[in-house]
Symmetry: C2
Subunit: 119 residues, 2 copies
DNA sequence: TAGCTACTTCGATGAACCTCTAAGCAGTGG
DNA sequence: CCACTGCTTAGAGGTTCATCGAAGTAGCTA
């Protein structure tokens, strides 16, 4: 899937393979814990956060957090790097932008396209 | 959740309740079949499509398509209306736009915010 | 009324998923 | 070398989910 994968969702029918790839990406963010992980990492000072900054925000065990981070990393949404004792995660903006492009703002009525009503 | 629910994902940490609501919305689109259903409905002439226009595009039974349409409708992504024999579905743009706002384009480096280093 | 088509609801099955505990790996420091 | 902390991997248990066949509802037509 290229960086600029697909037209906005309502522009033209998605191919089966594009839909599969986008669905996999969306499944990675379709979880409240992972959504909050992303937002915490992305808004953290320096653009990155170590796992120790994350576990405190959840009533979950460390292995569970690690599991969610792995899913985000596998999906290409974040990248992790070990520096000494700690592992730091950072958002990969290109992947997030792909989702933004998919749901790019629609015109509200979406009916002008048809020549139905000039008014 | 208001129309303009949340700041972009990487701007500030999501609240637990916002994350839960957004995750529910994302789970509705995190499926290749539903993604294609949305794109077919949205790009169909007239901005709407009847179920009979949809089933032909999938190797799935009618109950399964109906199941996916119900999930999209429950999530507020589409709206259905019966006219005579057929049922027509239409995208609700406001809900789609909510997702677009969540993944609004990020600046690529995202490090200028810190005053860490101009160079 | 009866019959036909379009679509939805119901109930069941098998796969995928979130969470945990236990155990393993990496790095630091006595 | 041993102990300790930070994080990940492995395996298990309970829940959710996609899909199907069968049955139900809604509308048209004769």
């Amino acid at each position: 899937m290229s960086l600029e994968c697909c037209a906005p969702i309502a522009r033209e029918p998605l191919s089966e393979s594009d839909a599969a790839e986008l669905a996999a990406l969306l499944k990675a963010v379709a979880d409240p814990v992972r959504l909050r992980l992303l937002s915490i990492i992305g808004s953290h000072a320096g653009g990155e956060a170590c796992v120790c900054d994350l576990t405190g925000s959840f009533d979950l065990t460390a292995p569970t957090i690690s599991h969610h981070l792995k899913i985000l990393r596998t999906a290409g949404l974040i990248d992790g790097e070990r520096r000494g004792t700690w592992v730091y995660y950072r958002i990969i903006p290109e992947t997030v932008n792909k989702l933004g492009a998919l749901f790019a703002p629609m015109a509200e009525p979406a009916r002008a396209d048809l020549g139905l009503a000039p008014a």
